[in-house]
Structure formats: structure tokens, C-alpha cells
Symmetry: C2
Subunit: 151 residues, 2 copies
């Protein structure tokens, strides 16, 4: 049994974030020492590592909750986990597509700039008069919202 600082160091998750996870119910409330300090065990290290890895993969906390529930109920068919991961894969591929379009447009903008005055700046001109080519200008917005919404 060890304290939150140790848990934080051994998982790389911020102390404040651990308490936040407890508050929103993604980590169970741990037992407390007589002084009120949270005391954790190895199981929590594993659970937190699972959460962190899922978060690193871009899963939102809602998805993480679902995946944890599956992990806790091993008799449930895993099609659901596979479905969640498939959705996430599709979202990641969509993001990559959007970002590649953005990259193309940014490269065009940066490449065209001749370091003159702002009046002639191709970067600013490109922003003021977007190119009609490709999908970049059309729904990169949703690319960004996809990201913040998780899967």
C-alpha cells in the first residue's frame, strides 16, 4: 500500500489527475490511512495504466469507462470493445486525412511567402481568399471537434 505520490510516479499520471479520475468515478475510492491519505495497491496501478494508455490512444473518458466495464465483466462478448476501437480507428484515420489536407495548404502558404510586406503576404492572402482545392477549408472544423470529443 502506497500513497498518491507513489502512484503518480509509477504511472506518470499527475496527482491532480488521479484525484480528478476518482471524483468523476473512473477510479474507485481508495481506502484511507488514519490521517486521511489515500492508500493504493498494485491493482490500481494496473487500472490507471490501462486508463492512461487508452487516453493516449485518443479514447475519451466515456469510452474508457466502457472499456473498463468490459474488463471488469470478462463474460461479456468483446465485440463491443472491438467496435469502440474500430470507431476510434475510423476517427483517427479521418483526422489524418484532414491534417494532410491542412499540411498541403500550409506548405503552399509558407512556400509562397517571399518575406515582403504584410500587404503582399501570401500567408495572409491565402487566409483571406481560401483556395478552392480539396477539402481543407470545408470541414477541418469537424476535424477539430472530433478531436475534442474523443471517439
Amino acid at each position: 500500500m502506497f500513497t498518491i505520490g507513489t502512484l503518480s510516479k509509477s504511472t506518470g499520471v499527475n496527482i491532480e489527475t488521479i484525484r480528478y479520475y476518482e471524483r468523476v468515478g473512473i477510479l474507485p475510492k481508495p481506502p484511507r490511512a488514519a490521517s486521511g491519505r489515500r492508500m493504493y495497491d498494485e491493482d490500481t496501478v494496473r487500472r490507471l495504466a490501462f486508463i492512461r494508455h487508452a487516453r493516449d490512444l485518443g479514447f475519451g473518458l466515456t469510452d474508457v469507462r466502457a472499456l473498463l466495464a468490459l474488463q471488469d465483466n470478462p463474460e461479456v462478448p468483446c465485440a463491443e470493445a472491438s467496435h469502440i476501437a474500430g470507431d476510434q480507428l475510423a476517427a483517427v484515420e479521418a483526422r489524418i486525412g484532414r491534417l494532410e489536407a491542412l499540411r498541403a495548404e500550409l506548405m503552399r502558404m509558407v512556400g509562397a511567402c517571399a518575406n515582403g510586406r504584410a500587404a503582399d503576404c501570401r500567408v495572409i492572402g491565402a487566409l483571406a481568399h481560401p483556395a478552392e482545392t480539396g477539402a481543407a477549408g470545408q470541414s477541418a472544423q469537424s476535424e477539430l471537434s472530433i478531436i475534442s470529443k474523443g471517439s
Copy 2:
């Protein structure tokens, strides 16, 4: 001169977002009709289109402010605009790299799932025992934070 609803429709920017932009000072306060309604002109359409396009390209509002200031002061050398766009390009390329690593890991996870029970699920297993291969697990976190921070 037209109202906020018309501006919203002609730029595709939400009404609430337009008022938000005004509140945070990225759009100037427009003149009001006797009834108190905001009245816009074509210049605002252009300015808002500029903002929207820059946002679509992933620029944060701080960057957008800087780009607008450059546009408003045409005598300033555009090296700064070019620099902002270059930073953004680098950030986009970093995101793409991260996301490609995530994609590889997700494909591996989804591909390995045999639709058995959760106890044997490769997706859950992969999350519980992350692969050591590649950079996916190491700093995709920062990939996500880069996104939310803009450039």
C-alpha cells in the same frame, strides 16, 4: 447592413460564436440599430471568413489575433505571418506522425480481436499491456495537448 443571422448564414459561423468573438475582442463591436440589434457590413463578412479559415487550419485564437493584426497593418514585414504559419505546419506534421502511430496500434488491436469473450479480448489486452513498439504510448498525450493548444 444586415443582422447577425445573415452574417451567420453567409459565413457558416454560429451566431453564438460570432457574439463570443465580439466578447473576446477578435471581432470589433458593430454599430447597433435603434432596437439594439447588431448591424454588419461586407467587411465583417470578410474578416469573419478570414477567422474561420484560420481556425479551420488549426490556428488558435491567439494566432488568429496576430494574423489579423498583420492584415490590419500592411507595412509590417510578413516574416511574422510566415513564422506563425511555419509553426503551425510543424505542429500539424507532428500531429500526423503521432496519429499514424496511433493508427498502427489501433489496427493491430482491432485486427487481432477474434470476437471472443472480453476475458480474451485483444483490444482490452492491448490496453492493459501496451506494446513496447514505437512511440505510440509515450507521448500521444502531448499530441492531444498540442491540438487543444493550437499552434
